[in-house]
Symmetry: C2
Subunit: 309 residues, 2 copies
């Protein structure tokens, strides 16, 4: 029997990502022992009932003690507090990673709390669903998805390689980039899309001329797809916007600028400008499907009433 | 053998909706004969090859001659021209309907071209996918989806009932409302969502700091779902925005107003305002799922990497 990649993994937080990691690590034999910490009694019970972990803890420090890998998998707003709790107990040589959607703030909030002989390797698996909690996890979540690592310049090379090996073993493709660039890329591919989805669903629910029941009945015209995104975890997303403010506001500025031009084109009946944009965007869709970033299941889903008219 | 609902149906246009209607009408025995007209030689060949129709025509008038139901199923920008072509040949008592996404303009563009003894019953099945053309149709497209009829005040009651019976037989739920109200409702549930999806995909493809390949690789963070909507037919959508200008600009104004408030909340770090909005939008998602306007297939799709983080 070969040694697992990690002897003891401590998952701090056991939501969609944490539970999916637990299932994937088990399936691929990547951890000798998996424990988790969560302040929610309900989540601790679920984690044990579903067999996700070998032991549960209420506080992060108890879980992190003795682990050779600690994974921060809570909403990112809790990272600073958790880092302060685990800093005193993590052993020399331990790797601390995370799965947060913003990366610059990890170096800022987590780094200072860790001893110098502990290796911080921030990471972000670009995968998810709009479901939350330990029941929503599944072992295949990361397969064929990208995981981005943003190690600081002075990161321990062996530790970074080991985190990369973990993600690769769970089926992910791994990229490395600076935290700053990550936060800019994700602002446009994830954060602003979520923001405008939340926004249009909010707008639709506040109208006087159109009732909420009409919005729900006729949601198959396109709106429905936005509500799916706008059903993502509120705490997680609040923390993302608060912690990637600059990049989000920059990308949002570009979005609004382009939208204003589009608004003007509609007002003045500039059909060619509309047609050209709509043709260009269609080509990008094709590239995403070609790049394997659309799932067969989603493809099947498109055969039944989806977006469109 | 019972009589079919219509003796001879002429589909003018045989894209996603036209071909789905042909398949659904055949499956449920709703038409004695189905013919279609399309100027595209390729589409005519496909319609015959796929057995969608009994005969194909190049021009609308030839197809409409002798039909007791004519369905306009082209992009709405072609409606005025088609109405002018078929006006002189449609027989007294014929029902003319359409499947366009904007309804006020049907009364304006189509009505004046038809003889007084021909019954115009505008309709809009709120269903679709981002795929186009005769190959993309499927008989189940309208099942459990709403179809909105917007008959003018002086419409022939029997004709309206017959169009309603057609949609009900194809599995749709039917609603009636004024064309003006339809155009307002659809502006928020369909047209503005499509517009902002097109817009964000356009914004993402024009950035200098983030490459197109990065946008594609990391699209699973939410962006991907927008590209699906932004892959819808460019001609169809250009025509929609040009023909529902007022309602789209009104709803877009509300969207931008709300987005500006959200932008400000992010800039000033107002976490509670963000959290409250994100919680409200989650509840609306639940109502849509409860109302059966999400499909089992899409639900399955959510079990593999979808929106989320």
């Amino acid at each position: 029997m070969t040694e697992p990649l990690f002897r003891r993994v401590a998952l701090i937080g056991i939501g969609l990502i944490g539970s999916s990691m637990a299932l994937a690590m088990r399936r691929h034999g990547l951890a000798g022992e998996i424990v988790c910490a969560t302040r929610s009694e309900k989540s601790r019970a679920a984690a044990l009932r579903l067999g996700l972990v070998d032991a549960v803890h209420e506080d992060a420090a108890s879980a992190a003690r003795g682990a050779d890998l600690v994974v921060l998998a809570t909403p990112i707003g809790a990272f600073a507090r958790i880092a302060a709790e685990i800093g005193p107990v993590v052993a020399a040589g331990t790797i601390v990673t995370d799965v947060g959607s913003v990366k610059g703030m990890v170096l800022r909030d987590v780094g200072p709390h860790l001893p110098l002989n502990v290796h911080l390797v921030p990471g972000h698996p670009v995968a998810g669903t709009e479901h939350s909690g330990p029941e929503s996890g599944f072992a295949e979540l990361f397969e064929n998805r990208w995981c981005i690592l943003t190690p600081p310049d002075d990161a321990d090379a062996a530790a970074v390689d080991k985190v990369e090996a973990l993600w690769a073993a769970m089926g992910a493709k791994v990229d490395r980039m600076s935290a700053q660039h990550h936060d800019l890329v994700l602002a446009i591919t994830s954060h602003v899309p979520h923001l405008i989805a939340y926004n249009i669903v909010g707008t639709a629910s506040d109208l006087e001329a159109v009732t909420q029941s009409e919005v729900i009945k006729y949601s198959a015209g396109g709106f429905r797809d936005f509500t799916r995104i706008a059903a993502s975890d509120p705490t997680m997303w609040r923390d993302i916007f608060l912690n990637n403010r600059e990049a989000v506001l920059e990308m949002l500025g570009r979005f609004v600028e382009d939208l204003t031009a589009l608004q003007r084109a509609i007002r003045w009946g500039e059909g060619d400008a509309l047609f050209d944009l709509f043709t260009k965007t269609r080509a990008i869709r094709r590239s995403i499907v070609d790049a394997g970033q659309e799932t067969p299941a989603a493809d099947f889903g498109r055969r039944v009433p989806g977006g469109g008219e």
